[in-house]
């Protein structure tokens, strides 16, 4: 029977059946993807990534304890020009106050979203984590990775919806 002659009630089902018709196998397409994957930056595993998520209560406590900020004691970003520095780069300090954390890293456009990130160092005794990076001018999306498993936007910086993954990222503009 001509599918167009179907009862209108069934028409959508017939359209859906046609849309769902399997494509011919295309093993060469899989190979093409893998060639690109091999040349891409390899994924890395965070040591604790696959462990069970903390309970809601612990997570809530963690979130309430967070007071992340750009370091205000260091003044405005400084442009650098010494030997070894990237031309026109600006010194940017990322900080996060999170005494309970065992490890904190910053992960973003500036380090290729490598999930091992750039480690922050904890200053005793206050529990402030910080790291200083030299970044060329531009806009950068980033997140903090706490204890290798909790992704956390910087609460003191603007957020933007990630165009690929749908989650909120922090944004920093280096001038």
């Amino acid at each position: 029977m001509d599918p167009r002659e179907a009862d209108p009630k069934d028409l959508i089902e017939r359209v859906t059946a046609e849309l769902r018709r399997p494509l011919p196998p295309q093993p060469e397409r899989v190979e093409a993807v893998m060639r690109r994957v091999v040349s891409a930056r390899p994924a890395r595993r965070s040591p604790y990534y696959w462990s069970v998520f903390v309970t809601g209560a612990i997570a809530a406590g963690l979130l309430f304890a967070v007071f992340g900020t750009r370091d205000r004691t260091s003044g405005p970003p400084k442009r650098t020009g010494g030997v070894g520095a990237t031309a026109g780069a600006v010194t940017v300090r990322f900080t996060l106050e999170l005494p309970q954390a065992k490890r904190v890293a910053v992960v973003g456009d500036f380090n290729g979203w490598d999930s091992t990130g750039t480690a922050l160092v904890k200053s005793a005794p206050g529990g402030r984590w910080s790291v200083t990076l030299e970044l060329p001018p531009g806009n950068y999306h980033y997140l903090f990775l706490v204890d290798g498993r909790h992704w956390m936007a910087d609460p003191t910086m603007p957020h933007d919806r990630d165009p690929d993954y749908g989650s909120a990222n922090s944004i920093i503009t280096v001038l």
Partner: protein, 179 residues
């Protein structure tokens, strides 16, 4: 024994990049079909799909085991298709042409003509309606999953799916776009 998606992801994250081939092989054809119907062009769809697999690979450290890999990957692909579709929107409009229903090829092959007619009709849906229709009817997602994936509200998604269905019925039975 077949490895689960989570087991494969764990192997990749442990350094076995080649294990990713299993995921690509497992989901390529399913998501190629979605990309083709979202974009209406096989080359654009393949480009968006390859980009999505590479982006997913790079971001595997952000994938959380509690989320199903296909759902997570679908979000990446849909967003990628939106980007590709927006870049090539002009060509979409050119291909869509006016609303007059053409005569489809292969009059002796009802199935092929029906397929071409569906592609013609799908090309005439607004992108957000086409996307919602495909996520609902092709991917069989719940409205809650669609809302999570697209960022749109459930009521809006229901309306898009309904309107897409109404337009398709109108196009496929009368050959003109309804309201």
């Amino acid at each position: 024994m077949t490895s689960t998606d989570a087991e494969i992801v764990a192997r990749v994250l442990a350094g076995q990049a080649e294990a990713y081939r299993v995921l690509v092989d497992r989901y390529h054809d399913r998501f190629a079909r979605l990309a083709i119907h979202l974009l209406g062009d096989r080359e654009d769809a393949e480009e968006a799909l390859q980009d999505s697999f590479v982006r997913a690979y790079r971001a595997l450290g952000r994938y959380e085991e509690r989320e199903r890999f296909p759902s997570w990957f679908c979000r990446i692909l849909v967003n990628r298709c939106r980007t590709v579709g927006a870049k090539r929107g002009r060509r979409w409009r050119h291909e869509a042409g006016d609303s007059a229903k053409p005569t489809f090829a292969a009059p002796d092959d009802d199935q092929l003509a029906w397929r071409e007619e569906i592609n013609w009709a799908m090309a005439r849906l607004a992108h957000d309606q086409r996307e919602a229709f495909l996520l609902k009817h092709l991917e069989d997602l719940s409205y809650e999953e669609m809302a999570e994936l697209t960022g749109a509200g459930i009521s809006a998604l229901k309306m898009r799916v309904k309107r897409a269905g109404d337009h398709l019925r109108e196009l496929l039975t009368n050959g003109s776009k309804g309201s």
